[in-house]
Amino acid sequence: MSRKLLLEHDHVPGINTYAVYRQMNGYASVEKALKSMTPETVLEEVKKSGLRGRGGAGFPTGLKWSFLAKPPGVARYLVCNADESEPGTFKDRYLMERIPHLLIEGMITSSFSLGARTSYIYIRGEYYYVANILEKAIEEAYANGWLGENILGSGFSHDMHVQIGAGAYICGEETALLESLEGKRGNPRIKPPFPAIAGAWGCPTVVNNVETIAAVVPIINEGGEAYSKIGIGKSTGTKLISASGHINKPGVYEIDLGLPVEEFIYSDQYCGGIKGGRTLKAVVAGGSSVPILPAELILKTAKGEPRLMSYESLGDGGFLTGTMLGSGGFIVMDDTTSIVKNLYTFARFYHHESCGQCSPCREGTGWMEKILHKILDGHGTLADVDLLWDIQGKIEGKTICPLGEAAAWPVAAAIRHFRAEFEEYVTNPQSIKDVKHYYRLHNLQPA
């Protein structure tokens, strides 16, 4: 593969310190932006780069920035979404822990473009120790004149703070995140108004993912056009993929978008193939919310073309035969895996994380968890499988935020592609005993 843009220096000893980061050309984008560019020309480069939000939705970043309202005399904010709670995703943690200054640099350059005097990094509570790493890096940035008043004599001043969460997946949803930042429960807001008009404390706010903000650094250093040439079609640039599950080399990989899925799974440069030489059964390619695909459909599209790691190729076939790039949380399952039990862990997750404001989500997630439990308990019926299908179809489009949909899609896809397994469990409950760890449903000890 070609050069890495974000993780190029992730293994340089001491790269988490200011001194080493600076030696590796760190803070060059701030220098360039503040000394030779305007907020508008920075925005132009981001637009040209074709960068799309790395938090999951893939919305064009330049376009999002251009929606930011700029009423005179009103503060604007940049808020970094470091909530990273989508099961299967751990890239932001890796980036922040290894190269904290890269995020801080991206935050300063982006804030300059957005005209934000203050920015916040909202980080999930479990990452408390990472928050401490960021705090320390921010201190170093202040001490070296990259934060504070009149940075580099440019007239641009900026303050940055880390805000800690306390364990709630829903706070990754941008309006719930803003509620949480304001010291409240993480209940998503009804949109509109969008954060770009009324965000943090009612002021215009841009919320971007950690990786999105970090990508602004190479975009400014090397130009939006150079960035847009990496990747394929509208999937420009590189993407951090969190790879986990039954593979030989789990970890965070920076890939050029457009890499064939097959190469990603089997090449020694990436996942290194399936653990123990077993065969691939299924992949959840973009975090728990995206449709699971069986081996044949993740490696090749329904048309028989090689599936690529890009927004478009993974999405090819829609939800019938395709999936989504999402957050890049790539979970690999071998042929021993129970798809029903895996789905149960997701259903339990969404039920646990539903904020409870909308009945279809609050009740639907609980109901789906219960039915899956019943099936795994050996008491399911064919009617239960149909009921699951029915419930998931009644959540989409009927809720305040997309968590309800995120809970429904995995259920739909598992039944769509693995119905036979569900039917086997309900018609031949004895077969469930082959499921690894089935005993855990009852809090029993292993036999």
Binding site: Y129, N132, S244, T345, F349
Partner: protein, 179 residues
């Protein structure tokens, strides 16, 4: 706890500093960070007295603290052991054997999920994805992530924690993890 909760002077100073990070009049935003400090300082959980104390510092209604403390899963509204063993149970960790880890600890400590050992040392809890799926199975205890767990590793960790006998908090200063 019979004594009225009161932060050590340094913690109070830190709380006051946190409150200045927000726009004028928006210091309620410091609620969650301050609740973390309170939980760490007052025995690992948030009693009604502790929450009232935090409300007073922020000059907000106690209900504003209760509703937040009860929403977020990292805040304990009941006493917990000195070492709160939080084991991830979601997909990737499940695939890599998290349930064996939970069953092993449960058997070894003779407690079920949600329970605390009689000596007040350990509480067992399963949690959702910790963002450590590539180093599954994983357990968080205070600020520390213990990754790539094996049953042998777990045995060792429990021994170490027990012999140290100290409370572990999210706010502890720890070195980076092993990812």
């Amino acid at each position: 706890m019979t004594k009225k909760p009161e932060f050590a002077p340094e913690t109070l100073a830190l709380a006051r500093k946190l409150m200045k990070r927000y726009p004028e009049g928006k210091h309620k935003s410091a609620l969650i960070p301050i609740l973390h400090l309170a939980q760490a300082e007052f025995d690992g959980w948030l009693s009604p007295e502790t929450m009232d104390y935090v409300a007073a510092i922020l000059n907000i209604q106690p209900i504003e603290v209760y509703e937040v403390a009860s929403f977020y899963s990292m805040f304990n509204l009941k006493p917990v052991g000195k070492c709160h063993l939080e084991i991830c149970r979601t997909s990737s960790c499940w695939l890599m054997g998290a349930e064996d880890v939970v069953a092993h600890i449960s058997k070894k400590l003779n407690i079920k999920e949600g329970e605390t050992t009689p000596d007040g040392m350990f509480t067992l809890k399963t949690v959702e994805c910790l963002g450590s799926c590539g180093t599954a199975p994983v357990m968080q205890v205070g600020a520390t992530y213990f990754e790539n767990l094996t049953l042998e590793k777990v045995d060792q960790l429990l021994e170490t924690m027990k012999s140290e006998g100290k409370r572990r908090s999210y706010t502890d200063k720890v070195q980076s993890s092993n990812i």
